[in-house]
Symmetry: C2
Subunit: 302 residues, 2 copies
Amino acid sequence: MSILVVGSVAFDTIKTPFGEAKDILGGSTSYFALAASHFTQVNVVAVVGEDFTDRERAAFEGRSIDLAGLEVAPGRTFRWGGEYSFDLNERTTLFTELNVFEKFAPRIPDSYRRSELVFLGNIHPDLQKDVLRQVERPRLVALDTMNYWIERTPNELRRVLPEIDALVINDAEARQLSGEHNLVKAAEAIRRLGPKLLVIKRGEYGVLLFNEDRRFAAPAYPLEDVFDPTGAGDTFAGGFMGYLAQQGDLSDGALRQAIVFGSTLGSFCVEEFGCDRLRSLTRGEIAARFREFKRLTHFEDL
Amino acid sequence: MSILVVGSVAFDTIKTPFGEAKDILGGSTSYFALAASHFTQVNVVAVVGEDFTDRERAAFEGRSIDLAGLEVAPGRTFRWGGEYSFDLNERTTLFTELNVFEKFAPRIPDSYRRSELVFLGNIHPDLQKDVLRQVERPRLVALDTMNYWIERTPNELRRVLPEIDALVINDAEARQLSGEHNLVKAAEAIRRLGPKLLVIKRGEYGVLLFNEDRRFAAPAYPLEDVFDPTGAGDTFAGGFMGYLAQQGDLSDGALRQAIVFGSTLGSFCVEEFGCDRLRSLTRGEIAARFREFKRLTHFEDL
């Protein structure tokens, strides 16, 4: 099955305690697409400016990534700059230049309309809803959002949630959206807003999946060196959706494995700057780390 | 196999957002012994004052808990008071009265000297070392400590670490002891100080086990209502050691199951005030929740 992803493509400027990089390829869609393309065909809808050259485009080429929906608009590409604290647990945004992303209105090419899985990246909930009007009966729709939309467009967000299957957010966002501190209660409250599936990302502490009354907890892979955490959440989502699409299976068992593949891809992402590690990654490396996750979590039942 | 536990017995006064309790049975040894006694014989060494009555003693009776080593000294029992924040993530100590605990010098009764497993609760590292001089070749010695000893008696602590098998501490303590923020690096540094096994407790995020080059990650059980977090760490240690003693097996597979039994007992502990839930708990409830942990973490390998 193929995946439609709608979101941002950006130039990122990143400072970590281990180095810095200027104007490198970033944005939620870039991370998502590179991760998911290890599993399946990814159809990208995003907008870039005239400064987005063949050099950046090359990062997506030779992969199962369709750029027919990558609009080039007059002006400059979205730019973001951020700096991490010494322990990588805090991130300060140094600048945000929306540029062409400010007027982004996703148009879904005809060839994408039958994508079986849809990932609505972190954009205005009305735009997310508009994407759903342009596609034909996807088998699974997942949505990401952030504190900005939870605070500023709560009604718009609540109107799109009943139309999706899966919400993929972090723990702080789950608490903010539900008004519940306890994550089990937060999950119940969020599922009452619409999504049957809730995936809560907890950074270095792993991921929780709530699938109706079933729950699954996966740890993060214990890494000795984290180089750059940027994009780990979008990479997780790409691995998660990519595996589901590849399998064509949305059972509870497949969802659990998909969470682990998402965690696997996320753990690779942070090993190098930006998208670099996702580009060099091989199928064998992915399978080997999935198996390490199995050894990391396995214990015998009674 | 039997377990020797050395540590504190106290009267706790606890305020949580859900209620308060005055002068209830507490202390690391109480939680540890009640948890471990669901699995095996526990030999207690601690000190109480003359105000420790038959009413408190009754909490341990009718269980596999030997109180021959519970010294009664002139004066009052150790008292601690604490208050939790609305989300239970922060705890403020309201008062600490060491009382008879200030001069505690553990004396191991002859009948305890052949305990196969030893748990050295959170006391001065010189006292922990002194306990080891009084026992005969235990099969496993585990040790707990805290920021107070890491800061004030670093040399004494470093002298006892080579004599133990397992260190059971929380993530903040692991970072402080090793000087490493990254937990994988912290674990390597700590294992170089002596203990072959390192158990890092991460509260609501679960537990990491480092067993030579093998690693195991267990999540915490997702609870809808946490009533009182006091004693969860000591209860975890009691479940962990209790299961190992019951099985008489220190293999990697048994250690993994023991971590899950520890997590299981810890998840029950926080459901009621103080030790109350540990006292009402049944073998069937423990086994049922262990199996829920299995369902919570299970995914199929490739």
